[in-house]
């Protein structure tokens, strides 16, 4: 029963957050200078041609009227039609989602596979891993994505190393080509994820190691792996889960720079192009979806906390 109450509360907060996001993105877009009719028709289009296009998409109505109409449609699952292409935004989003998800999965897998063990070893102070963790954490977090991506683009186009820049096709169309085209953006984003996880895991492990129960376990003569397994990993995992969820939420929203650099036709690139063209329907839907995904992933993480640490669940409910 408590979990039902908790979920209902989370859903209500999520809905309110989404309404807030929808107002911000709707108003923000209208405040940006320039209109889509100029972008699509070019600056020398006649006043009549522009007015006709504006009326076609209902942009001649008042702001509140447009907002209510859009929100009601979005709530019913209708994300509208792209003003530039006249194609349904939902269809275009669905078509692009696999590319974004694929890159996000590669990046997350890379980050988890490397970042977690490295962060754990660094936190435990094993051998040189502490220094390695520090260097990887600092470098990965401080090298801008655009620089790292550009270096990867050069290296992988200069020498035949398997991965390609551009040429994405869906997995179902050609597995090999699809993986080759998403490997570099995935790695590029994954390196930042590695740094994020190394630092978080290391700090979290170090904090847990100072807890009294760990010293007690040492004094009881438990083996180190028993201590790590039973007393460190679980307690150190909550901050790691938080940053992992935030990271995945960011990736699923469309990692723009990587999608541009590596010509991945994902959601980020779609929304970015639409923003330049003032294609309101696409940008509004993209931002709303990104926010929804972000909230969903973090809600799942929230639920995960209670599984990892029952004390959290107890505190939540008095």
């Amino acid at each position: 029963m408590r979990i039902v109450y908790y979920l209902a509360l989370r859903l209500a907060i999520a809905a309110l957050t989404l309404v807030g996001v929808s107002i911000l993105v709707f108003a923000g877009l209208r405040l940006l200078p320039g209109g889509f009719e100029q972008m699509v028709l070019g600056p020398d289009a006649s006043v009549e041609a522009r007015a006709e296009l504006v009326a076609k998409f209902g942009l001649d109505q008042s702001g509140p009227a447009q907002y209510v109409k859009w929100l009601a449609a979005a709530a019913a699952g209708d994300l509208g039609v792209s003003m530039a292409t006249s194609k349904p935004v939902a269809d275009e989003m669905l078509r692009r989602a696999p590319a974004t998800v694929q890159v996000a999965l590669i990046a997350t897998a890379t980050a988890l596979a490397v970042g977690l063990p490295l962060g754990l070893l660094a936190g435990l102070g094993v051998g040189r891993w502490r220094s390695v963790g520090r260097v990887v954490g600092a470098l990965g977090a401080s090298v801008p994505e655009v620089v790292l991506g550009s270096v990867l683009v050069y290296i992988f186009s200069r020498w035949s190393l398997g991965a390609t820049v551009g040429g994405y096709v869906p997995l179902t169309e050609d597995l090999g080509v699809s993986l080759r085209a998403t490997l570099l953006p995935g790695m590029s984003l994954g390196i930042f994820g590695i740094a994020l996880l190394v630092r978080t895991t290391r700090d979290s492990v170090q904090r847990v190691l100072t807890d009294g129960h760990v010293l007690t376990a040492v004094s009881q003569g438990r083996t180190r792996w028993q201590i790590v397994r039973h007393h460190v990993l679980r307690n150190a995992s909550i901050p790691v889960l938080t940053v992992t969820a935030t990271y995945i939420g960011y990736l699923l929203g469309g990692a723009l720079i990587a999608e541009i650099l590596f010509s991945v036709p994902g959601i980020g690139l779609y929304v970015y192009s639409a923003l330049g063209n003032r294609d309101y329907a696409v940008v509004q839907a993209g931002v709303l979806l990104a926010a929804a995904v972000f909230i969903a992933v973090n809600t799942v993480a929230d639920l995960g906390y209670a599984v990892l640490d029952p004390r959290i669940d107890a505190r939540r409910h008095g």
Binding site: P33, G34, V40, V126, V153, S157, R158, Y270, G276
Partner: protein, 527 residues
């Protein structure tokens, strides 16, 4: 140091390096799909509008030429050549007869007839929806289908540039029968009689083209398929050329020839055009110092065009004039802003500013981020203008904001001092000169100070046949443009192309005026 960490340090080290390495392994064994490889063009931007008659974007026009045909085309010297019209005749100063190819057909198999030409030209010149291109044609009394393959255009007044205008993508011949029947909407797709047809379009990703089996050039195009891959990042397109995953790429960056030169097997082409950059000054906004013509003239005088051509384009561009140099006419090169020594021009500019009561005017210069060249030109212009006493702040703004503040039809939105943009020269010098006519384009009316004499003069330019008299009129137009100093021609705008010469046997014209970059695509073949 905690007890546990000390304990662990003493023990056997375990390494997850294998996991780390495994996660970073690439997949070199995965092979590309086999089969006939299409020509792959890495294009910087997506097609903004699929309707040629309402598109104002030159980058989209380049794609239209692959799908649609126009009545006419141009050769490498900008002379008019046949296309859908295999011959034409000017039967009177205002009347032209075009004879269409009898074997032309749309890619759906339906023969292209004079009804399609009549319908397309009427759609284009509909006064209710007239765009720049409808206006370029001018008043049309009638467009008549003489027979199934003959069309007559009756103009209200002579227009010497008509044939040139009919070679531009915006005058493409559309399948009017399908449009009128509602089975085809040009705003949502493309259906033409050009060398290729659209097989698939993935927005912001790719256009997959297949040969039009009904194309009028027998046996062509030689390549069955063409893929237009939308690749916004310059580095990605360079990488694609470097690893051979794309065959050809187009660029805007003036550094392109140098970058392409470092890639073996890639041929760099700098395609000359009659297009040129110009500096626009706000001549009507009371908040701008440029409302005073003397201040505009001062700015025009201190511009150092050769310095821009060298610093920004590494010598691949050249000084430009209102009448583009590509036409070889030299009608504007005797004007003071071109002939006076720079020292003298700077002194004159300072005197003009002093006389106007603005010895040190503060101005902003808008350089839209839509082209990498705008900010580069602005950086070179900034110290040049400062030499005369201007204090210049360069503003790099998104394209939509630039349109809103500069290229707007609403005087209330017009909010700038100076801005950079460019004109296309096409294949007749009179076309570009029209833009200085007050009211000709709605977007320039918000900053272009009307020069009464100019409108009358351009009416004569449009109506006078090519020859010394028309040249004399255009020279006068150049003088008025120079003295009004509202839109100041700067330097030429070349196009940059790179292609894999080991993969593709391709030809690109040395001079192109209509954005028909892939004019010879039907002859492309794989090596």
């Amino acid at each position: 140091m905690t007890g546990i960490s000390c304990a662990l340090r003493r023990g056997r080290a375990w390494l997850p390096a294998a996991v780390a390495a495994a996660s970073l392994l690439v997949l070199p064994g995965l092979a590309l799909a086999q089969g006939q490889k299409p020509v792959i063009w890495g294009k910087p931007s997506e097609v903004l509008s699929t309707d040629p008659h309402s598109s104002g974007d030159g980058s989209s026009w380049t794609v239209f030429y692959l799908i649609y045909d126009q009545l006419l085309s141009t050769d490498d010297k900008l002379n008019i050549t046949p296309k859908l019209a295999e011959s034409w005749e000017q039967v009177s100063p205002t009347s032209y007869v075009f004879r269409l190819r009898k074997n032309a057909a749309f890619s759906n198999g339906r023969p292209l007839t004079s009804a399609d030409v009549v319908g397309s030209l009427k759609r284009l010149t509909d006064p209710q929806k007239a765009r720049g291109w409808g206006k370029q044609i001018g008043g049309v009394n009638d467009v008549v289908a003489v027979d199934a393959h003959t069309v007559r255009i009756d103009l209200a007044k002579p227009n010497t540039a008509l044939l040139s205008i009919l070679s531009v993508a915006t005058t493409s011949i559309l399948p009017m029968k399908e449009i009128e029947a509602g089975s085809f909407d040009p705003a949502k797709g493309m259906l033409g009689s050009g060398p290729y047809k659209v097989a698939q379009h993935r927005q912001d990703e790719a256009w997959l083209l297949e040969r039009n089996p009904h194309y009028w050039q027998s046996g062509k195009p030689l390549m069955d398929k063409m893929t237009i891959r939308v690749m916004p990042d310059d580095a990605a397109r360079l990488a694609g050329l470097r690893d051979g995953s794309i065959d050809v790429a187009t660029f805007e960056n003036p550094d392109t020839p140098r970058l392409l030169g470092a890639i073996p097997s890639v041929q760099s082409v700098v395609q000359k055009t009659p297009n040129y950059f110009h500096l626009d000054l706000s001549g009507l906004n009371g908040n701008s110092v440029f409302k005073d013509r003397r201040v505009r003239q001062a700015a025009a005088l201190v511009v150092d065009r050769p310095a821009i051509a060298n610093a920004v384009f590494g010598g691949e561009s050249a000084v430009e004039y209102a009448v583009p140099s590509a036409f070889g006419k030299k009608l504007c090169d005797g004007l003071p802003s071109y002939t006076l020594p720079r020292k003298e021009r700077v002194a004159k500019a300072k005197a003009l500013l002093k006389e106007a009561g603005h010895p040190n005017p503060r101005i902003s210069l808008i350089a839209s981020s839509v082209l990498v060249t705008y900010p580069l030109i602005a950086q070179v212009l900034q110290p040049q203008l400062q030499e005369a006493g201007f204090s210049v702040q360069v503003q790099q703004v998104p394209v939509a904001e630039w349109y809103k503040r500069v290229l707007t039809t609403n005087p209330k939105d017009s909010n700038f001092d100076a801005s950079l943009t460019w004109f296309a020269g096409f294949s007749d010098p009179g076309i570009v000169l029209n833009w200085w006519t007050s009211g000709f384009s709605p977007v320039f009316t918000t900053f272009l100070e009307p020069v009464a004499e100019y409108g009358d003069l351009m009416a004569q330019v449009r109506q006078t046949p090519n020859g010394p008299e028309r040249d004399r009129l255009m020279t006068r137009a150049c003088g008025l443009i120079e003295s009004s100093a509202n839109m100041i021609p700067l330097v030429g705008k070349p196009d940059y192309i790179g292609f894999r010469r080991d993969q593709l046997d391709a030809r690109f014209g040395p001079l192109e005026g209509n954005f028909d970059v892939f004019k010879y695509v039907a002859d492309f073949k794989r090596r």
